[in-house]
C-alpha cells in the first residue's frame, strides 16, 4: 500500500495558482525529495499531506485513507514533522521537547526513558544534554533534537520541510550522514522538501521536480541527470550542479 497518494490536487490563493492538478504517489520506506525554485509550491505540497493546508480540488490519501479533517491530531501523531529552524519549544528542556508526544500518549516512564536514550544515541547527542534548554545548543544539535522529537512515536511517515537549510555546510554534511544511517537501520517513508539539488541527490531514492505548481519530472537521481524531461529541468540541474567556484 502506498503510504501517500495525491490525486489531481490543486490549491490557489485568490487568483494565484500555487498547485495545479498534482497527482503523485510516494513509495513506502524510501526517501522522496521534492525540489524546485522558491514559489514552486513545494512547501504547500508538503503541507497538503498533513492537513495544514486543504486542497481546493482533488483527493489526498494518507496511510490508505482520505484525510479526515475532523480528526487531524490523531493523523498527525502518526507522521513525523520537522521544519527549518526546528521549532523547538524554548520553555521546555531537550528531554521535554523530545518526549512530549509520548508523555501525552501516556506511555510508561520506563518506555519513554528507553526510547529517548535510544534516539539520542542514534543521532550522536550526548545524553546529558537532556536537561539543557534549546537556546544552549548549537544549530546542528538543535536539528538533531528536532529529529528525535519527530521520531519519538516511531511514525511510518516523515514530512521534512527544508530541515537542514539553516545549517552550515559542515554540520549539514554530518547530519546527512546520520540521516542515511537512520534510513539504513530502519527505513521509513521520507518526504523531504529542499531547494538544494545536491542534497536531494545524496539523500533521496526518488526526486520530484516542481515548477510553478506543476510537476516537471519524477524519477531516480541518475535518471534526472541523464534524461532531463524538459528544458526547465535541464537548466535547473545545470545551474545547481555546475555552479562551481570560478577559478
Amino acid at each position: 500500500m502506498e503510504p501517500i497518494v495525491l490525486r489531481r490536487a490543486s490549491k490557489s490563493y485568490g487568483d494565484r495558482t500555487v498547485l495545479k492538478d498534482i497527482s503523485l504517489t510516494f513509495p513506502p520506506d524510501a526517501t522522496t525529495a521534492i525540489i524546485g525554485p522558491s514559489g514552486s509550491g513545494k512547501s504547500t505540497l508538503l503541507q497538503l499531506m498533513n492537513g495544514l493546508i486543504r486542497p481546493d480540488d482533488g483527493e489526498i490519501l494518507v496511510l490508505g485513507k482520505e484525510i479526515d479533517y475532523d480528526s487531524l491530531p490523531s493523523l498527525r501523531k502518526q507522521i513525523g514533522y520537522a521544519v527549518q529552524g526546528t521549532g523547538l519549544f524554548p520553555h521546555l528542556t531537550v528531554e521535554q521537547n523530545i518526549t512530549l508526544l509520548a508523555v501525552l500518549a501516556n506511555q510508561s516512564d520506563g518506555e519513554i526513558a528507553r526510547r529517548i536514550s535510544e534516539l539520542m544515541t542514534l543521532v550522536n547527542l550526548p545524553t546529558d544534554y537532556r536537561d539543557k534548554y534549546p537556546h544552549q545548543l548549537s544549530g546542528g544539535e538543535q536539528q538533531r533534537v528536532g529529529l528525535c522529537r519527530a521520531m519519538m512515536l516511531d511514525p511510518r511517515i516523515f514530512l521534512l520541510d527544508e530541515p537542514f537549510a539553516a545549517l552550515d555546510p559542515i554540520t549539514r554534511a554530518e547530519i546527512h550522514a546520520e540521516f542515511l544511517k537512520l534510513q539504513e537501520i530502519a527505513a521509513r517513508t521520507m518526504v523531504l522538501v529542499t531547494h538544494d539539488l545536491r542534497e536531494a541527490m545524496k539523500l533521496a531514492d526518488r526526486i520530484v521536480i516542481l515548477n510553478e505548481g506543476q510537476i516537471e519530472q519524477v524519477g531516480r537521481p541518475q535518471d534526472i541527470m541523464r534524461q532531463p524531461a524538459s528544458h526547465f529541468v535541464k537548466k535547473f540541474v545545470h545551474l545547481q550542479l555546475h555552479d562551481e567556484i570560478r577559478t
Binding site: 495544514l52 493523523l75 514533522y81 524554548p90 520553555h91 501525552l104 534548554y133 537556546h135
Partner: protein
C-alpha cells in the same frame, strides 16, 4: 427592659452620608441604641444621597439621618410646599419608608458670601446678587445637579452666573483664600463662624425647609423607632453647630462628639461608651479589609478574563466585540457604577467586589489575547503539525509561552485594583478608603494620608509579590529574553 442586650435580634444597621453632620447624627443614633441594649452595625459614609436612599429602600440599612427638603425635592421630586407632617404622611402611605420626628433643627441651604465683599456691595439677601457682575460662585457638585439646586435657584431669582463645581470642604478653603466669592453652605456649618461669612437671606422664599430627622424603613421594629423618637426636638441649630465645631475645629472624633451630646442630655445619658480600638489596630484592620477586597477581586477577575482571553484567541471573530465592551466598562465612572450596583446587589462587600472585578478585567483580558497571538508562528505551526490538539497546545505550549505577558497583565490589574479599592468605602465595604473619605469630609490632609500611604505601600507589595511569582513560574531564560 431598659438595659439589656437583645441577643436574638439582628443588628440595627445605621448609616450616614459622608459629611460631618451626617456622621455625628448617625453616631448619636447608634450610641443611643447601643446603650439601650441593641446591637448596631455602622455603615457610615455612603457615597451620596442616591446611594443611601437606595440602600434604605432595598433593606440594606435600617436608618440614616436625612433632611425633609432633600426627601421632598431631590429624592421624590414632589411639587409644591409640603409641611413636615404632610411629608411624613406621604411617606407612610405611598412608600415603605418613614420619617420619624425631627431632631429639632433645620439645616438648610444658604448662600454665603465673603464678609468684606458683602459689605462692599451691600449684599444682605440673595436678591442683592441679581445684576452683579464678576461674582465668582463655588458650589458643590451635588448642588449643581439637584433639581432643587442651582438651576432652580438661578431661575427663581433671575441670576446669571457660571458657577464652578467643587467639594464642599474645599470650597471653604477657596473662599478663605479669596478664590471664590460666594459658596453654597449649610446653615449649621461650623465653618460659617470660623471663616467670617455672611449668610444671604432667602428673601424670595426659594428654599424648602430642611428639618433633620431619622429616615427609617417602616419594617424597623416599633421599639427601635421609639428609642430613636426620644431624640425628637433635642437638638437646636446652635447645638448642632457646636457639635460640628467640636469635630472640625477641635479635632474630636464623630463618636466623641456624639458622646458629648448624649452626656449633656440627662434623659438620654448612658454609661461611657466602650473604648475604641487604638489607631494602629484600626489601621491594621482596614488594611486587612483592603487587601482582602483587592485579592478576591483579582482572583475573580482572573477566573473570568483568562478563559475569556483564550476564547478570543480561539475564535477571532468575537475578539473585537469582547475587547471593546470590556474596555467600555473602564470608562463608566466608578461612583456611578457603585450606585447602579445597589439595587441588584445591596451595599457592602458584594457590590464593591463586583465593581472592582469589572475594572480589573481589561488588563488581564487584553494581555492574554496579546500573549497568545504573539507566539512565534513557526512554533505554532510545529505544534499543530506534530499533532497536538487545541487543548494540548494551550496547556503545554501556548499558555506557558504566553505566561510572562499574562502575568504582567494580572500584575497591572493588581496594582490598579489596590487603588480602585479605596472607593469601596463609599459603598460601605470598608478598607483604606474610609480614611480618605473621612479626611475629605473633614478637610484633614493627615487623615487622607493614613489611607493613601498604606494603599501605596500595598501597591508596592503587589509589585514585589508578582516579581517573585514570575521568577517562580517562568523559566529564567524566557524572562531574560523578554527583558534583555
Amino acid at each position: 427592659m431598659a438595659l439589656g442586650i437583645h441577643p436574638e435580634r439582628t443588628p440595627i444597621r445605621v448609616a450616614s452620608k459622608p459629611f460631618n453632620e451626617s456622621y455625628i447624627l448617625a453616631e448619636i443614633m447608634a450610641q443611643l441604641l447601643e446603650t439601650r441594649g441593641y446591637s448596631v452595625e455602622r455603615r457610615l459614609g455612603l457615597g451620596a444621597t442616591m446611594i443611601s436612599y437606595e440602600a434604605l429602600k432595598n433593606d440594606e440599612i435600617d436608618v440614616y439621618p436625612e433632611y425633609s427638603g432633600t426627601i421632598q425635592e431631590a429624592i421624590f421630586r414632589l411639587k409644591g410646599r409640603r409641611s413636615f407632617s404632610s411629608l411624613q404622611d406621604f411617606l407612610s402611605k405611598q412608600t415603605k419608608l418613614e420619617l420619624l420626628p425631627s431632631f429639632g433643627f433645620e439645616n438648610t441651604y444658604v448662600l454665603a458670601a465673603r464678609a468684606d465683599l458683602a459689605k462692599e456691595k451691600k449684599l444682605h439677601a440673595i436678591s442683592d446678587l441679581v445684576g452683579q457682575t464678576g461674582i465668582r460662585y463655588g458650589l458643590t457638585h451635588e448642588y449643581l445637579q439637584r433639581g432643587d439646586g442651582w438651576p432652580a435657584l438661578a431661575a427663581h431669582y433671575g441670576l446669571s452666573a457660571n458657577p464652578v463645581g467643587m467639594e464642599h470642604s474645599l470650597s471653604y478653603k477657596a473662599i478663605a483664600e479669596g478664590q471664590i466669592d460666594v459658596l453654597d453652605a449649610y446653615s449649621t456649618d461650623a465653618e460659617i463662624l470660623k471663616y467670617d461669612l455672611v449668610l444671604l437671606r432667602d428673601d424670595k422664599g426659594f428654599f424648602p425647609h430642611y428639618l433633620a430627622a431619622p429616615f427609617v424603613r417602616q419594617g424597623v421594629p416599633a421599639d427601635v423607632k421609639k428609642v430613636l423618637g426620644e431624640l425628637a426636638g433635642t437638638l437646636s441649630e446652635k447645638e448642632m453647630q457646636r457639635l460640628n465645631a467640636l469635630v472640625i475645629s477641635e479635632g474630636k472624633t464623630f463618636a466623641e462628639a456624639a458622646e458629648d451630646f448624649l452626656q449633656s442630655q440627662k434623659a438620654l445619658s448612658s454609661p461611657k461608651a466602650r473604648p475604641a480600638d487604638s489607631k494602629w489596630v484600626t489601621l491594621a484592620r482596614k488594611t486587612g479589609d483592603h487587601l482582602r477586597l483587592t485579592l478576591v477581586a483579582l482572583v475573580l477577575a482572573t477566573l473570568v478574563a483568562l478563559p475569556l482571553g483564550i476564547i478570543t484567541y480561539l475564535k477571532p471573530s468575537v475578539a473585537n466585540p469582547v475587547l471593546y465592551s470590556t474596555g467600555l466598562l473602564q470608562t463608566v465612572p466608578s461612583l456611578a457604577l457603585l450606585a447602579f450596583m445597589i439595587a441588584p446587589f445591596g451595599t457592602g462587600t458584594r457590590p464593591a467586589l463586583i465593581a472592582l472585578t469589572l475594572y480589573a478585567l481589561l488588563p488581564i483580558l487584553r494581555n492574554t489575547y496579546t500573549a497568545l497571538n504573539s507566539i512565534d508562528p513557526v512554533l505554532k505551526k510545529v505544534s499543530v503539525g506534530m499533532g497536538l490538539t487545541t487543548w494540548q497546545r494551550l496547556r503545554y505550549i501556548e499558555l506557558p509561552l504566553g505566561a510572562p505577558t499574562i502575568l504582567a497583565g494580572i500584575r497591572t490589574a493588581a496594582v490598579i485594583t489596590v487603588g480602585t479599592a479605596t472607593l469601596a468605602a463609599f459603598i460601605g465595604a470598608g478598607g483604606l478608603g474610609e480614611y480618605i473619605q473621612t479626611g475629605l469630609a473633614l478637610n484633614d490632609p493627615q487623615l487622607i494620608m493614613w489611607g493613601a500611604v498604606p494603599a501605596a505601600l500595598l501597591a508596592f507589595a503587589m509589585e514585589f509579590g508578582f516579581e517573585a511569582l514570575e521568577k517562580l513560574l517562568v523559566p529564567r531564560h524566557l524572562l531574560q529574553r523578554r527583558n534583555g
